[in-house]
Symmetry: C3
Subunit: 294 residues, 3 copies
Amino acid sequence: MAPFEQEIEAIVDTILEDYLHGRDIDRIDLFKQPDKDIIIDMIGKLRRIIFPGYFTEKTYRIYNAKHNLSMLIEDVMFHLTEQVGLVMGSKQEAERICLAFFRAIPQVRALVQTDLQASYDGDPAASGKDEVIFSYPGLFAITVYRLAHVLYSLGVPMIPRIMTEHAHSVTGIDIHPGATVGEYFFIDHGTGIVIGETTVIGDHVKIYQGVTLGALSTRGGQNLRGKRRHPTIEDHVTIYAGASILGGETVIGSNSVIGSNAFITSSIAPGTTVTPKTQELQLRVKEPKKENDK
Amino acid sequence: MAPFEQEIEAIVDTILEDYLHGRDIDRIDLFKQPDKDIIIDMIGKLRRIIFPGYFTEKTYRIYNAKHNLSMLIEDVMFHLTEQVGLVMGSKQEAERICLAFFRAIPQVRALVQTDLQASYDGDPAASGKDEVIFSYPGLFAITVYRLAHVLYSLGVPMIPRIMTEHAHSVTGIDIHPGATVGEYFFIDHGTGIVIGETTVIGDHVKIYQGVTLGALSTRGGQNLRGKRRHPTIEDHVTIYAGASILGGETVIGSNSVIGSNAFITSSIAPGTTVTPKTQELQLRVKEPKKENDK
Amino acid sequence: MAPFEQEIEAIVDTILEDYLHGRDIDRIDLFKQPDKDIIIDMIGKLRRIIFPGYFTEKTYRIYNAKHNLSMLIEDVMFHLTEQVGLVMGSKQEAERICLAFFRAIPQVRALVQTDLQASYDGDPAASGKDEVIFSYPGLFAITVYRLAHVLYSLGVPMIPRIMTEHAHSVTGIDIHPGATVGEYFFIDHGTGIVIGETTVIGDHVKIYQGVTLGALSTRGGQNLRGKRRHPTIEDHVTIYAGASILGGETVIGSNSVIGSNAFITSSIAPGTTVTPKTQELQLRVKEPKKENDK
């Protein structure tokens, strides 16, 4: 055996021995794990179920479309039952959950229609609703969140988070599946948005890029599990780019406007406009030397 | 039929009925829609046309390269004509636009060469131009924007936005295809950059992560369509991380430097340096107790 | 020949002529270039080597798992040697580097186990370590960085940066492979994080979304190559969302806490808590008119 091959063999043995330490990362016998690729594939198919005319593979007749959609729904039903079964450890429980999930689809679609309307109304750059459905990352992230939230509410572990993290990866918008979000929700641009697990958002709320709805401090770590850590945003609130709203007791009253880069850790009364104070005046301006200074 | 199968069938029927509400999301008979997968595939091929030696599939002889590139150009030409035809509803119009688009390729390449030079010159971490072309998200997003901008300028709907939203998804850099950008444009790191539809950027401009060139307020929604809403950035301006420059009447004069996190809503004279005032002094520092305090 | 075909032919010729300008982007005869697709595929396989039980293709018996892992390691070894050979121009050098890289795998795994522990301990929303491994972008970006850093330290050009830029694209977290990072590193949410080439990070450091560990100014461009430009973060430091810490001489002392959106360009003593001064007071609040004002 050549020296290079011998070295490789020795290294392979070293790595295989390294798996015997008994640490979390050494687990090698995992039977019940969801399949991320299948889950991501299901997201694409669920999106075709939500928007039947937009992402289908070119079906030109209504009865064909109907037939295809039936097959699509049964296909997702099958895979979802399997994946939920893997994380729940019970086929019966998985079937119960999947039926409940699909019964909620019309309700999810009704909500997504309001989100679509809000996205179109809110953005002068939108040339039409088609463009919003095809290309807006905000609507994509909200749609995935709404689907994941149903599974989260049904007590499914892991899968909802894999779904929203996929949307996070694609869009830069991180909505925890545990968050509660009302109708007509609009996210513009999106990159860098974080919406924490216990956030509650009302109806007709608009959020811009870089907004954090987060926890005040998570130094408590795992001791804080299940406790309310994120804010409440009431109806008709607009939150501009880069604002941070933190804390489980923080309530932004309805019809308030939160300006860019505002940093808020306590409640705001309804109808309030909050902006970082005289932002322009805080600038230090060094103008160029004039001609006669030379 | 087993109860589970019966339940599934009932659910499928419910969802199919849900498509009959006549809302936007219920449209099922869409004939003229662009194919996002084909458009994303074209972006990859256009990038090989822009950088012929970098992303080709291992062609080792010049005459072969030439032959392959001809085929590649004709391939993109064919698909682009088809996709533009779908959104314009006219084959003749689509052919006219595609010819104009490809006639602009040498001009796009000349601009991208200046962007490449600016990226290399501006980043001490760049070990060579090859590394910039292979791995810099800024150059990728700018290249896709420059291609999409040509289509946008030729009046093509939807497709340019699908292109820049793909780049946005890959890089976190959201440049609207309607923006106007001069030569030697450099974007460093990139994540979280938003450049709005009516922005005008001069030559030799540098932009860092988290910068927004946005609208002051979009509460006007669809009423603001087509109006100037985003700022003008003149030549040789540098804008550091997290700065926001807003408003259609805001002009940043040439040779100005905008500091990190500055928030600007009115014009700045040429040659000005703007930084959030005494940023360090605004810090509240709580030092640790000393040993003898115990 | 039809007029449209003639026009296409003329355009193809124009583009082929455009490749003869001799600019960087015109290079057509590149023999030694790494293959981005192969490198990205290797990242997936390396992740399976790091977490053998999590991303494998359903192997249910230990001896099978062992066999599969041997094959996987040899597969990555083969491709990595080839890719490194392309950028180094020497097969012998490539073999030496690949052996060194794989010898470092147990050390990388030991570090990743500490990162996993830190991610789980630090996030109350984490329902288990499985969820962290499957879906947390922070752990993904750190894992890719740790692998790329080994190659960077072995003097491999381009490939490390292609690896971390892939992670940047997937997660919005941009860690330069040249950065030095201690154990128990936790990144929450992640989008918009930038960690520069010469940054040094100690043990038990936590970083939230939108944090920049960057250079004070890069106007020196390529003249600054190889010089220390980014900060030092000592052990047990927490840096909250949106903070910027800049400059090669800036040291954040151990056990310090840097508040959201803080902007720091000089050193901070150990044990210090730094927050932007009275952030709430800086807000300008416009409350709604009361009922009796009508």
